[in-house]
């Protein structure tokens, strides 16, 4: 049995595509639309490497794991994957990284990079949330911990990821009070 899937990925309409029954979203991204930046980690929803952003009509994002959610959950939705963060020119060449990506590079946040797409998506959602609802400076560390605590990294011990996001939040106008 197959089904017809249609959605928007990184501002581009995708589908309708016939997708086999029982396909998880990460498999759809990899095998049906050739977006391989989202990484498969534990396959059980624990490590959060595979997260993508699902945007609602108001532009508010939910961070969703793609290894444990079937493609059906995303049918008709707008999503952002790691491929959608950097600015690209008409040739598809990257012209500028997103602020979160820049911060992770500056802080040497990752080594192997497997967990990075998940951290980028989660941190981006956090920044967008703070833009809508700024917080006091002394709350920044706690908010980062709450947002990133479920993302597993096996190389750098988290400190550099957390420091990068903290630095970015404190140095971006309008995110803190």
């Amino acid at each position: 049995m197959s089904q017809s899937i249609k959605l928007t990925i990184n501002n581009q309409a995708v589908g309708p595509i016939d997708v086999a029954d029982g396909v998880m979203m990460i498999e759809f991204l990899h095998e049906y639309v050739n977006l391989t930046g989202t990484k498969f980690g534990c396959g059980a929803g624990v490590c959060h490497a595979c997260t993508v952003l699902v945007d609602d009509e108001q532009g508010i994002s939910e961070v969703v794991r793609t290894c444990i959610n079937g493609v059906e959950r995303f049918n008709g939705k707008r999503i952002r994957t790691i491929e959608g963060h950097a600015k690209q020119n008409s040739l598809g060449e990257i012209t500028a990284l997103s602020p979160v990506q820049e911060a992770f590079l500056e802080h040497f946040s990752f080594q192997c990079g497997w967990c990075t797409p998940g951290f980028v998506n989660e941190s981006t959602a956090l920044l967008e949330r703070l833009k809508r609802k700024p917080i006091a400076k002394d709350q920044v560390e706690k908010v980062i911990e709450d947002a990133l605590s479920e993302h597993v990294c096996r190389c750098t011990g988290y400190v550099k990821y957390y420091a990068a996001v903290k630095d970015l939040i404190l140095n971006t106008k309008g995110l803190t009070l």
């Binding site: 029982g22 059980a44 079937g70 059906e72 049918n75």
Partner: protein, 424 residues
Amino acid sequence: MISSHQRHFPRLKRIQNLLSHNLLLTLGLGLLACSSSAADDSNSSKSGDIARGAYLMKIGDCVACHTAVGGRELAGGLPFETPFGAVYSTNITSDKETGIGKYNYEDFFDAMHHGVGINGNLYPAMPYTSYSLLTDEDTKAIYAYLMSTKPIKQANRDNDVSFPFNLRFGLKAWNLVAHDAKIFTPSKDKSEHWNRGNYLVNALGHCGECHTPRDSLFAMEQDKHFQGAIIEGLEASNITPSELNRQNWTHGDLKSLFTKGYSRKGTVFGGMYPVVYHSFSYLTDDDMQAVSSYLLDTDEVIEPQALTFNGHKPELPGYTLYKGYCAGCHGQNGEGKPNVAPAMAGNATLDKASVHNVVAVMLKGINSQHYNSTTSFYAMPGYADELHDEQIRDLANYLRLTWSTQPGNLDVKTIHNLKEVILK
């Protein structure tokens, strides 16, 4: 590490609610009587008593309530929020000043059986209504153990209970009408195993406090012993022998559930997680057999039947929802994933006349559960913000039709009404 959610005790909150009505139940357990087989050695040595007391204390789940989050074991201080203020558990280490070190045995017996401490009546958050069924020998063993604990000097916190609930003389009156302190005696027409199980379940385990419904005046409905009740948005299941046997629980299933937190019939969640974690997972094999003999009302072997899977029905709207939201963890055919998520096939929560817990779990999810280095369950997300009532209806109906013997005839109104209870 025990996180805050693991220290959540709906039973206690429920009992606190009783205070505001100045009423309580008679525990419909007077008819259930039994002495502990281990209690026969009343002349056992002091050290023997201590070891047995340590075990009995585990099964009575004392640590869970008498230890604050991140605090020293048995030193008290865990708050229980009530509508009329916080009540704090007390220090029950052997410290003479701040603990119960100055209690003699009679004082301790009074606290355990009559709810009267040396400083006055205890709030019935302390389940003396169940502990009063303990034999004298077992009460002595627990006393011996507690007196052997390392004294921890930690002053008890004053309760923040507001007037008039802070007037403890009300509890005296309440005890008079509600508390019948009777020690268990065994039923002669039942096996030794069954009687031991009865004692463990009703006296130490104090299971009826959650699993027996209470009437509109918050009195326990004695004729509905163990028939299930709603506590803080979840339903403490019907655990009568007829319901457990209808669902085809075997002795092995119950043993697995109580010792590991999961079984062929599903996993524990909500208030049962701390019960398994702190208490029932420590049951000896003999006592576990006794508990299942009592709960299933038989010592005979029960044959496990095939787990229900009626086949997928892709034409139903719930099918797409299941595949999109659930199948990743619970399996394409509801077979579940070990240490991640329970199977839908044979799931006892699904195979109940009441759909309450199915909807509650969909809306609120389940917190992660850690048992040991090899057994943990990751959290299930709640979908209250994402799935609307029609989707919850479609999914609940689909789950019931596909993996249980229950009908798939729930309507939106039912879901809407349940939602109000569950999310309030």
